[in-house]
């Protein structure tokens, strides 16, 4: 790179490059457009992958529904309570027609991992899904 335009301001009074910024960083591209501003919140990708969950064969309630929970899926940084910073993007997880009438899909947060719980009216139904673990 021939030239870097980087504006940084810290919250300590001992160092401040620009007096109108209080925190964060601004980055401009070659066209002079602001591509990163101090109010921006930019998602970062921590993990990406695919998973599956099976509804099981044990009926519950009337009419019967079946509920299963996936195995642990690694997501470094996640905790049960930090949903304001770490969250999972779930894709392609609506079951096919006929299996969604009592459908419920729940994300269970753990420490450095998560699981999903899936409920349906179909016994032994395997639901495949994709996920992206994001930090933001």
């Amino acid at each position: 790179m021939e030239r870097v335009i980087l504006k940084v301001a810290l919250h300590t009074s001992s160092f401040k490059v620009l007096n109108y910024m209080s925190y964060g960083m601004q980055v401009f591209n070659a066209a002079g457009n602001l591509t990163l501003d101090t109010t921006y919140r930019v998602p970062g990708i921590v993990v990406i992958g695919s998973g599956s969950v099976n509804s099981g064969t044990t009926p519950s309630g009337t009419p019967a529904s079946y509920t299963g929970t996936s195995g642990n899926i690694s997501f470094p940084g996640m905790t049960p309570t930090n949903s304001a910073e770490f969250e999972v993007w779930i894709l392609d997880n609506i079951p096919s027609g006929g299996a969604w009438s009592v459908n419920q899909f729940t994300l269970n947060r753990g420490t450095n991992l998560f699981t999903v719980t899936f409920r349906t009216d179909t016994s032994n139904y395997t639901l495949n899904f994709d996920y992206i673990g994001m930090r933001f």
Partner: protein, 216 residues
């Protein structure tokens, strides 16, 4: 993190980290009612918006697009705009790389972050599965949860999965209200009770929902 830098914005939210790669906008366009847009969900996330009051409904098809990638078919009864974002490591820069800032992965070539993209995504909210609930008839918006409230200028809606069958199913649908400046969630399906009664039931959102704003 053991190496590198992290920057937080003025609200304490992550603005930039050398520990994770970020996302960049790769394509925008329009998709007419009943037409489709293809995307690769392994690397890309599809977002949609509309510029007038009304619904956004449609159907996702995993592997149903050209070449076996994914497809979203518009059932909104209107043309809507779409936007694709992609992982920075999977996307070449489209702006001059002689200015700004670039951060690479340890392999020295895959981008974690770059200002060399002409447009980028700014996260507004990410809504996990099971956290919203719709009630009532689809066109009664009293009991539809508000996903977003504020200016709808360049605001986009991302959904992990979407299903729509007229009069039967609305999963991950939305209602864009340009009078109230809100986006509301619609997750409902009908259940038939013999001999002739159809009742709409509300559901929690099944997939993760994403609200973002395009930058520059």
């Amino acid at each position: 993190m053991g190496y590198g830098i992290e920057v937080y914005n003025e609200n304490g939210n992550l603005q930039f980290s050398t520990g994770q790669e970020s996302l960049t906008v790769i394509d925008t366009g329009t998709v007419a009612n009943t037409s489709a847009v293809d995307y690769n969900s392994a690397n890309e996330i599809l977002f949609v918006r509309r510029t007038t009051t009304g619904h956004i409904d449609g159907n996702t098809s995993k592997g149903g697009g050209a070449g076996g990638i994914d497809r979203w078919t518009n059932s909104s009864e209107a043309t809507v705009e779409y936007l694709l974002v992609k992982r920075t490591s999977q996307r070449a820069q489209d702006n001059s790389s002689t200015y700004g800032i670039k951060v690479f992965k340890s392999n020295g070539t895959s981008l974690q972050y770059s200002s060399g993209y002409s447009k980028g995504p700014k996260l507004i909210d990410i809504i996990p599965p099971g956290s919203t609930q719709s009630f009532g008839y689809p066109n009664d918006y009293t009991y539809k949860p508000v996903l977003y409230s504020g200016s709808l200028t360049d605001v986009w809606y991302g959904f992990g999965d979407m299903k729509f069958t007229l009069g039967t199913i609305i999963f991950q649908g939305t209602y864009w209200n340009y009078t109230a400046n809100t986006i509301q969630a619609l997750n409902q399906a009908t259940t038939f009770t013999y001999p002739n009664t159809y009742t709409w039931f509300g559901y929690p959102n099944i997939s993760t929902l994403f609200i973002l704003q395009r930058t520059t």
